[in-house]
Symmetry: C2
Subunit: 280 residues, 2 copies
C-alpha cells in the first residue's frame, strides 16, 4: 500500500523522502524523484510530515518509538501520520509518547485496497487533534478521495476495525453468492452485473468477485492481514461484551484458508472455503 | 412494490389496467389514470403484457393458473411477466403451462427496495425467451435501471436468490459494524460516511443504516419476506449439497427477530439482534 500512496504524494508535488525495511522496495519511487533515507529517524529529520504504512501494532511502535525511530528525528511542531491498521490502544500510546516531545500524531488507516491506493481514491479515517488534521488535509487528500476526521486519537483505528467487520462479511456474502451461481449453471458474470447494481451490491462484489472468478488470488489485501484485523475486532468485542456472530464466523472461515497455507493470498480466496464439499 | 412500479409504467405513457387482492390499494393509481379490473384474467384480456408482483410461489400459481387467473384471459402471443421472488421451479412450471396456451412468460424479480421501485432504479434480473425479453424491454426499462437477461425460464429467480444471500449477509455486517461503533462511542454517522466510501461499502450500509440509526424500522423489505427468500436459498443449497454457513447464520438471526414478533418490520431491525447482551 505504501508505495502507490507515496507515488501519489510525488504526483501532487510534495518533496518525498522514503525508507523501507526491505532494500529495493523504494526503487520505483526513487526513479520518480523521491530521496532515500537510511532510517525512520532520518526521514523525520527532513520532513514536516512523516507517514508510515506497515503491518501491525509492534511495527508501528518500532518505527515511531524504537531505535532510529521517528521520535529521534522529528522536530517539535512536526506531524507523524500512521496509515497502518493497528490497535486503537497502541495508536493512543504512540501519540502520547510523541506529544511529550512536541510532535503531533494522526492515526489515519485507509480502506480501498491496492486499487484505491493507486487511483488515490482511498477512504481515510482520521483520529487526532482537529487543527493538525486541517493542516495535513492537502497531504491526505493527495492519497484519498474520502478523508474524514472521525474523532480524537485512536478514533481512526476504531472506525477502521468496523470497516473490516463489514468487509469480512461482504467477502463471505460474495463467496456464497458465487457458489450458488456456479452450482445452478447461471453465468456468474451475469449474476454479478445485476446483483452489483441492486440491493445486494457491495465494494467487494464489484472489485474482488471478478478477480475470484478468473482464479486470480494475488493479494490486494492478504488473508493473514484480514485475520490480524478481525483478531483486533474480536478482542475489542470480548472486552466490551459484544455478540458478533458474523465476524466470528468469518474469522473461522479465513482460519481454514490459513491452515491450508493460503494466508498470503488475497481475501478473495474465500470463494474456495464455501460451496460444494471438497471431497471429489 | 407493485404500486410504485405501476406508477412508473403510467409515467412512461403505457395504458395500465390494475387489479389488487386488497380493494382500495389501487386508488392512487386510478387517480393517475389507471383502469380497474376485477380479476387477473380481466387484466390479461385487455393487455399485451400482464405483470404481477406478489409474495410467494403459491400466490403466483393462483394469479397465473388459478380460477380467474391470467391463463383464462391472456390471448396467444401476449406476455406474462412475474416480478415476484419465488422458487425457480415454480417459475418454470407456470411458464410451461402458459406456453401450452401460446402465452410467453418472463420471470423478472427485482432488487432495490421501495426506494428503487419509486425512483425506477430497480435492478431487474430476467429469465425466459430472449426475443420476448427484447420485446418487453421498454416495459421493464420504465421500472428499472439495470435490466439484464440472465438466462432461460427460471434463471431470473436463480439470480435473485443469490442476491438475497448477499443482501442478508450485508445486513448482518451493517448490524455488527453499528454495534461496534456504538460501544466505542464513535458517532455511527461518521463511521458510515467513511466506511460507505471504502472497501466496506454496500448498498445496505448506504441505504438502510441511516434508517436503523434513527430507529426507523418501517419495512422497505420485511423480515418475513427475507426469511421466505432465505428459506428458498437454503432449500436449493441442501438439494445441491452446498455449504453456506453465512446464509444459515443470517436466517437464524432473522428467526430470532421473527420469534420476537418483529417479522413485519424492515430488515434493518437486525441491528437489535447483535451487540450487547439484552439483559440490562
Amino acid at each position: 500500500m505504501g508505495a502507490p500512496m507515496a507515488a501519489n504524494l510525488l504526483k501532487a508535488g510534495f518533496a518525498v523522502t522514503v525508507w523501507n525495511r526491505t532494500a529495493g522496495r523504494a526503487d520505483a519511487l526513487l526513479a520518480s524523484g523521491a530521496v532515500l533515507a537510511s532510517s525512520p529517524s532520518e526521514v523525520a529529520e527532513v520532513s514536516e510530515v512523516t507517514l508510515s504504512c506497515v503491518t501491525n501494532s509492534p511495527d508501528v511502535e518500532a518505527i515511531a518509538l524504537g531505535p532510529n525511530g521517528v521520535i529521534e528525528g522529528a522536530a517539535p511542531g512536526s506531524v507523524y501520520i500512521d496509515c497502518s491498521t493497528i490497535s486503537p490502544e497502541v495508536a493512543r500510546r504512540v501519540a502520547a509518547a510523541l506529544a511529550a516531545k512536541g510532535v503531533s500524531m494522526l492515526d489515519a488507516p485507509v480502506s480501498g485496497g491496492d486499487v484505491g491506493a493507486r487511483a488515490a481514491t482511498l477512504a481515510i479515517m482520521v483520529g487526532g487533534d482537529p487543527a493538525t488534521f486541517e493542516r495535513c488535509l492537502p497531504v491526505l487528500e493527495s492519497m484519498g478521495k474520502t478523508v474524514v476526521h472521525v474523532g480524537p486519537s485512536g478514533a481512526g483505528q476504531v472506525v477502521k476495525l468496523r470497516n473490516q467487520v463489514a468487509g469480512g462479511l461482504h467477502l463471505l456474502a460474495m463467496a456464497e453468492a458465487i457458489a450458488l451461481a456456479r452450482s445452478a449453471g447461471v453465468a456468474p458474470e451475469k449474476m454479478l452485473e445485476v446483483v452489483s447494481a441492486g440491493a445486494g451490491g457491495s465494494w467487494m462484489l464489484s472489485n474482488l468477485a471478478p478477480r475470484a472468478l478468473r482464479g486470480d488470488f494475488a493479494p490486494g489485501f492478504m488473508v493473514d492481514l484480514m485475520q490480524k484485523d478481525l483478531g483486533l475486532v474480536l478482542e475489542t468485542a470480548a472486552n466490551e461484551s459484544l455478540l458478533l456472530p458474523g465476524t466470528t464466523l468469518v474469522q473461522q472461515v479465513f482460519g481454514v484458508l490459513q491452515a491450508e497455507g493460503r494466508g498470503a493470498e488475497g481475501t478473495q480466496a474465500i470463494v474456495d472455503a464455501v460451496g460444494p464439499s471438497r471431497r471429489q
